[in-house]
């Protein structure tokens, strides 16, 4: 492990003192021409970038009510100031949500309000100059778009919306983040974030079939591009290759097998993630989502099920219908899309699955609500289903479960520290510090309830936790998917034919 400054974990989550400029030095790798141009962005910073940036802001103000309203109505009450995990972990005042937003608000005032035009000092209005842009690049890449701040704001001001707009403006003037742009490029050229071509995808899935056969004696299939399947299964591509993600993938496969529901992955839509959201681009969001809608039509499936991935679920649940709907070739009896937890839990409740909880008896489980699932989507028919359904499923597969502190779960959950397009090595320092509140709550239940397993439903959370928890002296195999628990507990060959 490289040398990083790991904050001390206290008994409780504490609000730090202000440390001016604590994370001002953290720099992202800039996107290069080869990443930007294929996505329709300028290859380098454009000549008249100041004017172009202000013009883009004007354009976005006219397109997004959220931006217009949120830039106007913040009263600086301070309710959000101690709610962001990046502030709690770093103490950098620019990581207080209101202050992060102020980076854009000050520019908005300067160019779009009378007070900012005539009395810039009085209202803190700033030119969109070199120094401002530098702060934008830095601090709009220290927001994971987790929306925790919006829960506590009296007007619901969602800093994630402002971060998205800021990144969109920066892309428009040729200042991009390599990590997200490069990944989006891979989705368009190869089909998924990891850049796995079809033969490799096929190879790994056949390998997994053999593994399951060896372990269970059951011929569980993981099919690709099968026309006429009932379900199109869209998983984050990390599920195909990364640990502990693959265990969940095998869990999905066993659920379909046990329930006798035919399904298929798609080699073209082999990615649930949609980094178009991270860079704030409507057009990229739409393009990336359209692969999936097209594949659903192409393969003639009746339903679409989405795997364990937080932001992907937000885009799928909240945005797909708008971006690429309506899905009128699918079976109207099922919601489009369905979350794998909804799918599995529903089958289980109707008697379509059998679990042997004792297989997970070595574990005391807690559940981390992923931010995008918790605060930007739903599962099931009632508000809050996104909290109860995964927990119901965990309790169905395990005997030992304990929740973390009430201020750190459900809608108040803390981000893992790696969401929103920040899961990249150059931001490791931030990722470690941003995890502090979550680790504090986790250590509490590890101590009091002997928790030894952190169940997740997000590919980014899984990658982030397994990489960063060791810095806090928590072993990486503490982390796993909810469907990893399903994978362990499911009894094959018992049920058939419940759809």
């Amino acid at each position: 492990m490289a040398n990083h400054d790991v904050p001390e974990v206290k008994e409780d989550i504490e609000t730090p003192e202000l440390h001016e400029g604590a994370t001002a030095h953290l720099a992202i790798f800039p996107a290069q021409e080869k990443h930007m141009v294929p996505l329709g962005f300028p290859g380098a910073r454009v000549e008249n970038w100041q004017q172009a940036g202000v013009d883009k802001l004007k354009d976005l103000l006219e397109k997004y009510r959220s931006l217009q309203v949120y830039l106007d109505i913040c009263v600086k009450c301070g309710s959000c100031t101690d709610k962001c995990h990046y502030f709690l972990g770093t103490g950098d005042p620019n990581n207080m949500p209101v202050q992060r937003a102020e980076l854009m608000r000050s520019v908005y005032r300067r160019y779009f309000t009378p007070s900012g035009k005539f009395f810039p000092q009085l209202v803190n209005a700033r030119d969109f100059d070199e120094e401002t842009l530098k702060k934008w690049v830095t601090y709009f890449h220290q927001c994971s778009q987790c929306r925790r701040c919006s829960v506590f704001c009296p007007y619901g001001i969602d800093t994630a919306e402002i971060t998205m707009a800021a990144r969109e403006i920066m892309d428009a003037i040729g200042v991009g983040h390599k990590y997200s742009q490069e990944i989006i490029g891979k989705v368009h050229t190869i089909g998924n974030n990891l850049g796995i071509p079809k033969p490799a995808l096929n190879g790994t899935l056949r390998f997994m079939e053999d593994e399951i056969l060896d372990a269970t004696g059951q011929e569980v299939r993981l099919p690709v591009d099968v026309k006429g399947a009932e379900v199109l299964m869209v998983a984050p591509s990390a599920d195909f290759f990364s640990a502990p993600h693959v265990e969940s993938l095998m869990g999905y496969a066993k659920v379909f097998h046990a329930a006798g529901v035919s399904y298929s992955f798609s080699s073209i839509a082999s990615e649930a993630a949609n980094f178009g959201m991270f860079i704030g681009s409507y057009e990229q969001k739409r393009k990336i989502a359209s692969r999936i809608a097209e594949q659903a039509r192409e393969l003639g499936v009746k339903r679409i099920v989405v795997g364990e991935c937080g932001h992907a679920w937000r885009v799928a649940y909240s945005f797909w219908n708008t971006l690429v709907g309506p899905f009128d070739t699918l079976d109207p009896r099922y919601p489009v899309p369905q979350h794998i937890c909804e799918f599995t839990n529903d089958l289980y409740k109707r008697g379509g699955l059998t679990f042997d909880k004792e297989t997970n008896d070595d574990k005391v489980v807690t559940f981390h609500d992923s931010c995008n699932v918790a605060r930007a989507s739903r599962m099931g028919d009632t508000p809050g289903g996104q909290f109860t359904i995964p927990r119901d499923l965990i309790r169905a597969t395990c005997n030992h479960y304990a929740d973390m502190d009430a201020d750190t779960i459900h809608e108040k959950t803390f981000c893992c520290g790696g969401g929103g397009g920040l899961l990249t090595d150059e931001l490791m320092d931030l990722r470690i510090k941003g995890m502090l509140p979550r680790v504090t709550a986790l250590k509490q239940v590890m101590k009091h309830d002997k928790v030894n397993f952190l169940a997740l439903i997000c590919a980014i959370c899984k990658a982030q936790f397994s990489k960063v928890l060791p810095y806090y002296d928590i072993p990486m195999d503490t982390v796993g998917g909810v469907h990893q628990l399903v994978n362990n507990a499911i009894v094959l060959g018992k049920n058939k034919g419940v759809v």
């Binding site: 309203v69 009085l122 009296p154």
Partner: protein, 233 residues
């Protein structure tokens, strides 16, 4: 003469500016559904959510108890104070005089709460950091309005009859003679300043809250297709 001109100017700026901002919010599109979840599934549910925000400052309560206490006390008191002021603009039934006492108490609470908000803004390092001169000036302006009001109530009582005559003249657009009382003139002038800056300041949270997409949308993207008005077909 000058005062009455300024009074009409401020009123016009306030009304036109406020209407313009509301029009701007209403007109700007909401391309995607972004309610902060868990969110209501029905319009009635949304109305209730907004009601709890307006009537109880629900989210602020979750966020910070002290700010909630002072902020809530200020706003609730302000409402009562404004109601009490109706009698300076119109003839009110007899019972209205009987309940004036609540408005008077509210005036004291309001000024006290504003003072606490000011102290808090300055005292807590985080809120001090996020505050611009305008944020302090806004509180001081409100304090000055409240303070001059209380002075008129408790120390230097002006001639209410001439004030009422002037105010009725003002709001019915018939013009008015500025009452001679200095304290009143200051009180009134500060209110005019407040009216004139209202639409261009953070005070627009009054109207903006109702347009906040994270609070005013239903969580029904799968049930009903939400259409982005500017998306290419």
């Amino acid at each position: 003469m000058l005062m009455s001109l300024l009074a009409y100017l401020a009123l016009a700026i306030f009304l036109a500016g406020f209407a313009w901002k509301i029009f701007q919010y209403a007109r700007s599109p909401a391309p995607l559904l972004i309610p902060t979840t868990p969110a209501p599934l029905t319009k009635i549910g949304v109305a209730w959510r907004l009601f709890t925000e307006v009537a109880f400052f629900n989210s602020l309560f979750k966020g910070n108890k002290w700010t909630w206490l002072f902020g809530y006390a200020f706003h609730a008191a302000l409402v009562l104070v404004l109601l009490r002021h109706v009698r300076y603009f119109a003839d009110m039934p007899h019972w209205f005089a009987e309940v004036q006492i609540f408005g008077v108490i509210a005036g004291i609470v309001m000024v006290g709460a504003l003072g606490m908000l000011l102290i808090r803004r300055f005292w807590v390092a985080r809120t001090r950091y996020i505050s611009s001169p305008a944020d302090y000036l806004m509180l001081m302006l409100l304090l000055a309005i409240g303070g001059t009001g209380l002075l008129m109530k408790f120390a230097f009582r002006p001639d209410i009859v001439s004030i009422k005559e002037a105010m009725v003249g003002w709001v019915t657009l018939r013009g008015f003679q500025t009452p001679g009382d200095v304290l009143f003139a200051v009180h009134f002038a500060l209110v005019l300043v407040l009216l004139a800056i209202f639409p261009f300041s953070k005070l627009m949270h009054l109207g903006g809250l109702f347009f906040s997409p994270s609070r005013n949308q239903t969580d029904t993207p799968r049930e009903h297709r939400h259409v982005n008005p500017w998306a290419a077909p």
